[in-house]
């Protein structure tokens, strides 16, 4: 608890990271609360007002069939964030095999690592396409495939962090005192592998968000009329030479979001690393 406080203080001292956290929260609120205030629906077609540039009625313009882009970005953000967060949460399942491999070593480690290598060798977009084909197209089912694709690095990190801790004297001392394996894992190992996992998760959030919008952009993710940031960007592709603003607005929102997530990750990493040195 003491250490968490110190990390938070170090994080807040890092102005860039604190500012990005604020920006990210604003974007989140824009997506969560925005739909309560907007007068438009994300799927109502209004052909008279298609491809409008930003104006007072439509602050971010309208798309090819007259849907308000800002409303679509709000609802789309909900989809994008839910896919990203689900995928990252699923990937946390990798902690268990990782800790097991690092703790018991030997044959257990060998089996888990080989399976993990095989899983890591399959390209993510291939896994996504297969998942979409099997579980139904366009509804965002690829979040599970992305979660599975994110597991191998987590297993690797948890494994090496555990191996580092297992050799320490206090683990031996705990064992000598008669603490069972479960007890050691819960009290000593989990606490120590937490910080590399947090650092990895915070940086993989940004990558996952990019991957999620990439799939939407390519048309193998969430499909219209359901909004998702990637497919909103792709919606502007048809008019990129005549009305580039249609693509600039959604992509800059994504870039802002990814950049702030990356900076938050950097701030957390710096905070956790210096926090570790001092503790």
């Amino acid at each position: 608890m003491e250490r968490a406080k110190r990390v938070i203080r170090l994080f807040m001292k890092n102005r860039l990271a604190a500012a990005s956290l604020v920006v990210f929260i604003i974007v989140l609120l824009f997506c969560i609360l925005g739909p309560l205030f907007t007068p438009y629906d994300y799927s109502t077609i209004d052909v008279k007002n298609c491809w409008q540039s930003p104006s007072l009625q439509h602050p971010m313009g309208t798309d090819g069939i007259g849907r308000d882009t800002m409303t679509r970005l709000m609802y789309g953000g909900r989809t994008t964030f839910s896919i990203t967060f689900t995928a990252v949460l699923i990937s946390l399942l990798g902690i268990l095999p990782g800790v097991a491999a690092g703790f018991w070593g030997g044959r257990v480690d060998n089996i888990i690592s080989r399976i993990n290598d095989a899983l890591g060798a399959i390209p993510t977009f291939l896994m996504v396409i297969f998942a979409e084909n099997m579980m139904g197209w366009g509804g965002g089912n690829y979040r599970y495939a992305m979660g599975v694709a994110l597991i191998p690095p987590i297993v690797r990190i948890a494994r090496s962090a555990t191996m580092e801790v297992v050799g320490k004297e206090y683990v031996e001392a705990a064992r000598a005192l008669g603490v069972g394996s479960t007890g050691i894992i819960l009290t000593h190992i989990m606490r120590n592998i937490l910080s590399p996992i947090i650092v990895h998760v915070s940086s993989s959030l940004a990558d996952t968000l990019v991957m999620c919008t990439l799939m939407g952009y390519l048309g193998i993710g969430v499909n219209p009329p359901e909004p998702e940031w990637g497919n909103i960007v792709h919606g502007g592709y048809a008019v990129i030479l005549s009305k580039p603003i249609q693509m600039i607005i959604p992509s800059s929102l994504i870039v802002i979001c990814v950049l702030s997530l990356n900076l938050i990750g950097n701030g957390l990493r710096d905070g956790l690393e210096t926090g570790k040195e001092r503790s």
Binding site: A118, A121, I122, P123, T124, F125, L126, I129, F130, N133, M134, A206, V210, T213, L214, Y217, L218, I220, V233, H234, Y237, I240, L241, P244, M247, I248, S251, S252, I254, V255, V258, L259, N262, L263, N266
Partner: protein, 305 residues
């Protein structure tokens, strides 16, 4: 290598046959009747999956990719498209090496200085910018405002400039980061201190001695770079309408074009494995420690000599 290849092909083969819409029994039970059954059995599609897999691999070994949709044959179609992807990936690789290695070295040498900060901001922006957003920016700059380059299509060399930049962006960021951490790791080691004590200039130490050791680490991650570049070409091909192999692959999976999918996966995985082998050998050539281990067997690997 061969077992890995066979395993990858088996996984893809199984996945392709469990996808809804590729099971032939669905069609015959839905009223295709004897006529459809006749077609299926004449195409040998009623055999067991093991038999089909073995037959496919045997044909593949003879250089027969099976039947695709183009009249020229599937093999020539795949290799025609592979040309575009290979060009993009190769240019992207060269660009990321040319930019990434000097930039990373500069950042490591001037660690904490202004140059280091500038490089780290640039790599952060480059890795945060999704490839399609970068493509939008490039089209805006080069096509709309300066009218220098053709926006979409393929043919003459100027069509390759923007896609190459899109492909390289992620690679440049990755190479820069790798080089920076490798070089700054080497700079802290004892032999650098000895060389400095001998009176060698900083530039000589970095480019002659540190580089030789740091490059090994960078080259060892070539496989990661290759898969990163492959992901970049997927977007570049899509955005700039280039008929590359990644586009063919994504389209044929949703089209249940089994032979095309298998052919693309076979070609791509062989290439990735070759990159892996080349990077292993290059890393060995650059690092005496690994070279000894490879030449004299595993015995000297642990520094027993």
């Amino acid at each position: 290598m061969a077992p890995t290849f066979l395993a990858i092909m088996l996984v893809v083969f199984l996945l392709m046959s469990v996808l809804p819409g590729s099971n032939i029994n669905e069609f015959s039970s839905n009223g295709g009747g004897d006529w459809l059954d006749g077609i299926f059995s004449s195409l040998n599609m009623t055999d067991s999956i093991v038999a089909r897999y073995v037959r496919y691999i045997v044909n593949l070994a003879k250089g027969d990719f099976g039947e695709g949709r183009s009249s020229a044959g599937l093999g020539s179609n795949i290799f025609y498209r592979l040309g575009f992807t290979a060009k993009l990936a190769l240019f992207g690789f060269l660009l990321s090496a040319i930019i990434g290695i000097p930039a990373g070295t500069l950042a490591a040498v001037k660690r904490g200085g202004r140059a280091d900060k500038a490089v780290s901001v640039l790599t952060l922006v480059m890795s945060s910018l999704p490839s399609y957003a970068l493509a939008v920016v490039l089209v805006l700059i080069f096509c709309l405002y300066f009218n220098l380059l053709p926006p979409f299509g393929f043919g003459t060399p100027e069509y390759y400039i923007m896609p190459t930049m899109v492909v390289a962006a992620g690679g440049v960021a990755m190479t820069t980061r790798m080089t920076r951490s490798a070089v700054s790791g080497e700079l802290g080691s004892q032999y650098v201190m000895v060389l400095r004590a001998k009176g060698l200039t900083g530039r000589r130490i970095v480019w002659l001695h540190v580089m030789k050791n740091a490059l090994g680490t960078v080259v060892a991650s070539l496989t990661n770079l290759a898969s990163q570049l492959l992901c970049g070409t997927l977007i570049a091909e899509n955005f700039f309408s280039m008929p590359g192999i990644c586009q063919l692959l994504t389209k044929s999976i949703s089209g249940r074009n089994q032979h095309t999918v298998l052919g693309c996966v076979a070609v791509l995985s062989v290439i990735l494995m070759m990159v892996n082998i080349v990077s292993d050998f290059a890393a060995a050539l650059l690092s005496p420690r690994i070279k000894d281990a490879m030449v004299y067997g595993g015995g000297r690997q642990n520094g027993e000599s």
